[in-house]
């Protein structure tokens, strides 16, 4: 063959070998690191009884906190919804902003057709026409908001809770565009003027203008053994049940076995951690 073709074949051959070698080498190094992480993870979960294999979430978690909302209880007691919202917003110094476009809400009551827009709304049953249910951040197992955040200001912690790091957020609002449930709010201006100094919760910071915020599954409460504020506001009604979805013996898992539940827009593949008994 002519010289040029020979040279081409030589170069092609060496590049292929180099490429394959590099990728396998790299894969081994990375794979080694990953299996080490997976090993410690499994050891941790094994302690809590039979570990349930994580579904398509990309971050392996030790626990997976979830919520079961029994909408029937919210219909029986019409004031429960407002109490739940007030408890959360009070606990976390969520400002009450009169201008609708600038509003901030972590949990709020809404109608069936807004909570489940992918469900049919024609000839809806009377209860769902009249009554409202609470919606909040679903703390998805495969959260698109975490995927798009350019600074990792929103991330999934070891308990499966999607957390906001207000110090790192640059306020680009990409997470707000990515969230398929509309759970996120932005501080369009300084929230302090809209908070009452006398009733502020001094143990929890407010946020500053220019950062995104949302429900945080009350991490500051759960880490000291308390229930989330919304759950506590429900008292004994068990209108909202909070627990570890990875623990098959937890109350929430038992209730999920006993009741038919639905989730918001499941076909999007986000694997929400919030379930509804409608």
């Amino acid at each position: 063959m002519d010289k040029k073709r020979r040279n081409f074949l030589k170069i092609a051959g060496i590049s292929t070998l180099a490429g394959l070698g590099a990728t396998t080498g790299l894969g081994r190094l990375v794979g080694g690191a990953q299996s080490a992480v997976a090993a410690t993870e499994e050891a941790a979960t094994a302690e809590q009884g039979n570990a349930v294999k994580q579904n398509a979430g990309d971050t392996p978690c030790v626990n997976r906190y979830g919520m079961l909302i029994d909408v029937r209880k919210f219909r029986e007691d019409l004031s429960l919804g407002e109490r739940v919202v007030q408890a959360c917003h009070q606990e976390h110094n969520v400002p009450n902003i009169p201008v609708k476009k600038d509003e901030i809400k972590w949990i709020w009551m809404t109608h069936y057709e807004n909570a489940f827009p992918e469900q049919p709304h024609l000839y809806l049953d009377q209860t769902n026409v009249e009554f409202q249910l609470p919606i909040l951040c679903n703390h998805c197992d495969n959260p698109p908001c975490v995927r798009v955040c350019p600074t990792k200001a929103t991330f999934r912690d070891a308990n499966g809770v999607v957390i906001m790091d207000f110090h790192r957020c640059i306020g680009c609002r990409f997470c707000m565009a990515a969230c398929p449930y509309g759970s996120r709010s932005f501080n369009w201006s300084d929230p302090r003027p809209f908070l009452d100094d006398a009733t502020m919760n001094k143990d929890f910071p407010t946020r500053t203008r220019g950062v995104v915020e949302k429900c945080n599954f009350c991490t500051e409460r759960t880490r000291v053994g308390l229930q989330p504020a919304c759950v506590e506001a429900c008292g004994d009604t068990k209108a909202i049940v909070f627990g570890n979805l990875n623990d098959p013996d937890s109350e929430i898992r038992q209730m999920l076995k006993q009741h038919h539940t639905v989730q918001r827009n499941p076909s999007l593949g986000t694997f929400p951690s919030v379930f509804y008994i409608v």
Binding site: H167, M200, T208
Partner: protein, 124 residues
């Protein structure tokens, strides 16, 4: 000197401007070192005073990342006492007055940390 008059005048103005920090506050109280109101309920802090003065912001950043991002809320143990890693729930328990403690040095060195935009300063 060609254009000597303008040059000398310009130089004098320049030197005056550049040495403003030296002469502007002469004789006023703004020059004196800040007097801090120390806490009465504790004798020692998480770190010695000199270290705190130099590094308190780094310390708070490390605590912040540990608590918020890693979820590690284990207390710091110093001389047998356990301290939570928190500005509001730990530091402000002893240094109860932002105005008489934090602001004194910050105002003197013209530093405006934005911690208080979010973290709630105690009402004075």
């Amino acid at each position: 000197m060609y254009n000597g008059g303008k040059i000398i005048t310009g130089l004098v103005i320049f030197v005056l401007l550049v040495t403003i920090p030296v002469w502007y506050n002469r004789g006023t109280t703004a020059r004196s070192a800040p007097e801090l109101v120390m806490p009465t309920n504790a004798k020692s802090c998480v770190l010695p005073a000199e270290e705190m003065r130099a590094k308190h912001m780094q310390l708070l950043n490390v605590w912040r990342d540990e608590v918020v991002r890693t979820g590690d809320t284990t207390s710091i143990v110093v001389e047998g006492k356990a301290y939570p890693k928190s500005l509001q729930l730990n530091c402000m328990e002893c240094h109860t007055s932002k105005v008489n403690f934090c602001d004194k040095c910050h105002d003197y060195s013209s530093v405006t940390p934005y911690c208080w935009d979010c973290h709630i300063a105690p009402v004075e």
